[in-house]
């Protein structure tokens, strides 16, 4: 049963019906017992009365056999002739009987109550033996009449119930509908919403039972709205940031089309090629950023080997005509970091690219390990011009490109590094090295660090040198 109202209706109807039926059963049993008790008492009383009348000679035992002479009152009702009376001599002859009493002996028992089957009908009989007069008085009740009495009472109870039950059903149905109306209102409210409407549902007049659902729904709305807001901001941001390089590409293409001078054309085409590279990198970084921002939870942390990742990234790095060399210190081989490898790779790649872009031709990029208090630091150091001190606090801003900018930079790299490290539970440290160049540090708290044994033969010459 999918519908709450149908289920409630059926449950209520069945339970109400069951309560009613058990009440009827209980009334049936207790009424029967009560009637039994009352009628038995009457039977006893009637027997004693007849006996006392015989004793006081008011009933002449000799003439009592005539039906007309019966002293019993005839009630004009369905329960007429409920009582039957027989007077037997102790020798076994019928001395007298009441009108309508059977001819057969009502009971063979001596004193007290008994039940006898006569002509297919059960009789409840009370017997009194009068030894002095030598008679036995038997007063009997037809059980059929007793049963009818009980069943009449029960019928009196059940008949109105049959009439009331449909009315009760209707009332239950109406109550359920009214009770569930707030749910219907919320459903209607939700159904009528346009997809863009993520405003919270009004829970001021909501029932207490619905409030948790509303709260959860509103929480979900808030999260979805936040995510969508971030995506919208990002889209606007991305579109905006792509316009300048695209304008550059278009202008250079128009220059190439407009000029007859091969030198100018070649220069423009070269600019287009490097412009496409730059724009491609910008797009990749924008996508990195967007996927970082969309990640609500980090993937389960797995051990990252910083040395291996740095070496692999160093191999991929386009070092072009600069002839750069990259060294990865052997100490890096001795630790594993518990974090998502993708986050480390993203951060390290952007830091390495930055270092390569700002390096002077023939320079060296040095990756090494430092320890400070409760943290280890993976450092990536270049030999470039460094970051002007007054720009150090701004370089992590998105799209900020300082005075010592690289031609291929987008201003996104450090923002991505910071975001990725933040997601991984680490942080980024940037400073100008004493002997020139930038030293970027991936600061990992000790809880994320595990020491491992360095390989037996680490690297020739103590450090690995990349192709360059």
């Amino acid at each position: 049963m999918r519908s709450i109202s149908t289920r409630l209706f059926v449950i209520l109807l069945i339970t109400t019906g069951l309560v009613w039926l058990s009440a009827v059963a209980w009334i049936f049993v207790s009424t029967r017992a009560e009637i039994e008790r009352v009628l038995d008492a009457r039977l006893m009383e009637a027997g004693r009365m007849v006996n006392s009348l015989i004793v006081s000679q008011e009933i002449d035992v000799a003439t009592a056999h005539r039906p007309e002479a019966s002293g019993l009152v005839h009630l004009p009702s369905t329960y007429e002739r409920q009582l039957s009376c027989q007077i037997w001599s102790l020798q076994g002859t019928l001395i007298g009987r009441s009108d309508g009493a059977p001819d057969a002996k009502l009971s063979d028992h001596g004193d007290g109550f008994s039940e006898t089957l006569i002509d297919g009908e059960t009789w409840r009989v009370f017997a009194i033996e009068n030894a002095k007069l030598g008679v036995r008085v038997l007063v009997g009740d037809n059980m059929r009449i007793r049963d009818r009495l009980v069943s009449d009472v029960i019928r009196g109870l059940l008949l109105p119930a049959l009439l009331i039950l449909p009315v009760l059903g209707g009332l239950i149905w109406l109550s359920i509908r009214r009770g569930l109306a707030p749910l219907g209102r919320i459903a209607g409210n939700l159904a009528a919403r346009p997809a863009s409407d993520l405003s919270p549902l009004d829970g001021a007049d909501a029932a207490r039972e619905i409030e948790p659902v509303l709260r959860s729904l509103n929480g979900l709305f808030a999260r979805v709205a936040g995510l969508r807001e971030r995506e919208r901001n990002f889209t606007a941001f991305a579109a905006h940031e792509l316009r300048t390089p695209i304008a550059g590409l278009k202008t250079q293409a128009q220059v190439a089309l407009a000029s007859d001078d091969p030198a100018i054309r070649n220069q423009a085409l070269r600019q287009i090629v490097s412009g496409v590279d730059r724009t491609g990198r910008l797009v990749r970084q924008l996508l990195d950023m967007s996927s970082l921002e969309a990640t609500e939870q980090t993937a389960p942390a797995s051990p990252v080997n910083p040395a291996a990742i740095l070496r692999a990234l160093g191999d991929e790095l386009p070092r072009g005509e600069k002839g750069l060399s990259i060294t990865v210190g052997p100490d890096l081989e001795t630790i594993r970091l518990a974090m998502d490898p993708d986050f480390f790779r993203l951060a390290a790649r952007n830091l390495l690219e930055n270092a390569a872009n700002h390096s002077l031709p023939g320079g060296t990029i040095t990756c090494d390990l430092a320890t400070r208090g409760d943290a280890v630091i993976v450092t990536i150091k270049d030999e470039g011009p460094g970051i002007p001190e007054d720009e150090l606090h701004r370089v992590r801003e998105r799209f900020f490109r300082g005075r010592n900018r690289a031609p291929v930079g987008s201003g996104l790299g450090l923002a991505i590094v910071e975001l990725a490290l933040e997601r991984a539970g680490c942080s980024l440290e940037l400073r100008n090295d004493a002997d020139g160049g930038v030293c970027a540090g991936i600061v990992a708290p000790q809880v994320l660090v595990r020491q491992v044994d360095a390989p037996v033969t680490p690297f020739q010459g103590g450090s690995w040198t990349g192709r360059g």
């Binding site: 316009r243 300048t244 304008a247 250079q252 128009q254 220059v255 407009a258 490097s274």
Partner: protein, 220 residues
């Protein structure tokens, strides 16, 4: 017509510099606010192409400084932000025109010509002196209805003189109109171009004012 381009994106800056010089402008390009503020004191540019977002500040600051000095040089703003609010803000801060990126190089050139024309107080894009007609957008020159072929430098000198009829332009002023910073200027270059112009348009077209410079000859 000498144009200063202030744009931080290298490819775009280079494209504008080369592209606008192909369209007949003399172009110089810089990329920061600092450079702009230094260059724009006592400059000889006819118009500025200005990017809004520069590494060390906003193009609007350059614009503000210019207008505070009373400099009326036409400024064409180039920007990636071109919502209506951005455009209104830029124009209200003293820009003369506004183009959103990406733009068409020819449109930049046409807008610059229009800006310079308005700044020189003309409504036509055609200059006329006696029987010589100069069409600025197509750079066609005619004498008595006959087309005359001029080199880029010759055209620039003729255009500068015809834009200010009656005014005397010094040799240095003419050199400034002709050459960007990166171009080597031969000491007698202006004299050589004037000589060629006189050959093509007639000796009386340009007068030499001894010790002062050159101006158009005769009456309009």
């Amino acid at each position: 017509m000498r144009i200063l381009i202030i744009e931080d994106d290298a490819a775009l800056r280079d494209g504008l510099r080369v592209g606008l010089s192909l369209a007949g402008f003399t172009t110089d390009a810089i990329e920061t606010c600092d450079e702009a503020n230094a260059v724009l004191i006592g400059h000889s540019f006819d118009a500025i192409v200005l990017d809004l977002m520069l590494p060390d500040g906003s193009g609007l600051d350059i614009l503000k400084a210019l207008r505070e000095r009373g400099d009326k040089i036409p400024v064409l703003l180039l920007t990636a932000r071109d919502s209506v609010a951005d455009r209104i803000n830029g124009l209200d801060r003293g820009a003369d025109d506004y183009l959103g990126k990406p733009f068409d190089l020819d449109e930049v050139a046409a807008r610059l010509r229009a800006l310079i024309r308005r700044a020189e107080g003309r409504s036509q894009s055609v200059l006329q002196w006696q029987n010589v007609t100069v069409e600025l957008s197509s750079r066609n020159v005619e004498k008595d209805g006959v087309p005359i072929r001029l080199s880029r430098r010759e055209f620039s000198i003729l255009r500068a003189l015809m834009s200010h009829p009656g005014a005397v332009l010094s040799k240095t002023q003419l050199e400034d109109k002709l050459y960007g910073w990166q171009e080597e200027v031969e000491s007698n270059a202006v004299e050589v171009h004037i000589h060629h112009l006189r050959q093509k348009l007639g000796a009386e077209m340009i007068q030499t004012i001894r010790g002062a410079g050159y101006r158009l000859g005769g009456e309009s």
